[in-house]
């Protein structure tokens, strides 16, 4: 039972001090979660803290490997709209 951080992490340091289990540490490229220490904040907080402050959609996964903050959930940008905008920029 552990959350994990993937490579879209931008190294903003926001999650690290919030972790009640001190499970988050700075890895070589991005921040990482020590699976042995992570409790998903069970017993400490209603919501996992790292996933509650992380500004990057998709950067933190639950134990099943699903994004806790899926595309559009934090920025409010509908994923389709985002894909459209990015396609337009690349076509320039």
């Amino acid at each position: 039972m552990s959350l994990s951080i993937v490579e879209s992490c931008v190294n903003c340091f926001a999650c690290e001090p919030l972790c009640p289990s001190e499970a988050i540490f700075k890895g070589e490229e991005i921040f990482l979660i020590d699976a042995k220490k992570c409790t998903e904040c069970d017993g400490d907080f209603a919501d996992p803290q790292c996933a509650s402050i992380c500004p990057i959609e998709g950067a933190i996964l639950d134990a099943a490997g699903e994004a806790i903050n899926p595309p559009g959930s934090l920025t409010g940008i509908p994923p389709l709209r985002m894909a459209q905008a990015m396609a337009e920029i690349q076509a320039r």
Binding site: C12, A14, I56
Partner: protein, 503 residues
Amino acid sequence: MELKVLGQDNQPSAQAQAGGCSSGTCGSSEDGMNHLPDSVREKVHNHPCYSEEAHHFYARMHVAVAPACNIQCHYCNRKYDCANESRPGVVSELLSPDQAAKKVLAVASEIPQMTVLGVAGPGDPLANPERTFETFREIYEKAPDIKLCLSTNGLALPDHVDEIEALKVDHVTITINCVDPEVGAKIYPWVFWKNRRIKGAKGAKILIERQQKGLEMLIERGILVKVNSVLIPGVNDEHLKEVSKIVKSKGAFLHNVMPLIAEAEHGTFYGVMGQRGPNKQELSDLQDACAGDMNMMRHCRQCRADAVGLLGEDRGQEFTLDKIDAMDIDYDAAMEKRANIHAGIEAHRDALRAEQAENEMPDLLAPVGTPPARIAITTKGGGVINEHFGHATEFLVYEVAPEGVRFIGPRKVENAYCVGPDVCPSGDDKGTVLDAILEALSDCSAVLSAKVGIEPWSRLEDARITPSGEYAMDQIEDAVRGMYGELIEQGWAVKDLNVQAVG
């Protein structure tokens, strides 16, 4: 150099009053600071970000020590990090407090005009309190001649007022975009508060309450507060008038209304969703509407969170970590040099003020009813016209009317006309670069530079912008007045200042 030209101590207030409004620049010279108490004016006198006049002489730097943020704004994208882009929230290199302190000492030694150090991100300084205050502590100890300031969204501000006071941080900027949670819900998708991510108006309400409380606490303790607002057309434009009233009544000394920066390629909500930024006239009108008897700031450059140098320039690339490591810094010697150079700058500013006070200005520059004109100038600093047209990536725009001169704001262009120091562009590039400049200056009737080349000269004339190199090395406002006289004499084609291209 140490000799003060006027043989008096450095009393900006007394001189500004003596000068009164005779220069015809009330509201622009010394930034219309006349209504402020002497203690406040003393603090802002050498601060490039607060005093329009000072920003021609003194430099600032930001150190990027604060990466974390506790809210999301629709104009910000935390993924973005590009050396070629200039806007708030963008940095190239995150620094530890130790590295930041070292960088500050290096810059202070190399750029003695640097008087102000700010922590402004790239996240929120108070969402990273340990890193921010550790940086301030080191600089407070090692470089007591540097002013400290920080810029925050305000959410965590009430918790840190004691420390801000203890470290003598006497300038704090709070970004306040609204005082109504319903407006806030359109700007802030969420805030992180008491261990929860809180979305929508509920989150915005918490943020607004904390901003206002922080503002009140700072004012109670005599700490200077500037308020920044991002003007978002259709979202908070009308609302900002109320924001301005409220923050003014609570004691903020300066309100800085900045245009929204929104491009799809930035990946921000506003950028992707096609929210437009304000045009030049909308910004200027709102600044006028908010002004009242309060200072509006019009010279803000919306710097990166790691900018270094005079406003409008960024010398950050000269002070990367590897370059700093190779520098040998004797800060005691540097402090002495800095003090000397500052005394020289002050003597120069005193002399300029004295000159202005002596030169009796006519009450009116032209008969009442003469239409106003906008005039752009290019400068490298020092308050004079000393930059070549072809080297400028920034134009300062002034508006001149029979009643006097006022500063409207800076206009940036992506590329200077000249490619290198002595290289002119060729082929298609030439047209595109010049088109962008003409578009940025579309409301101007003249542009004053140290020199203007032949090719841009004729294109400028075609666009009804009179180029001139006649005012090279002249004081900016003197030159603007002089050019206004020329325009009137020539019977210039008056431009409608209300019709603006978006840009």
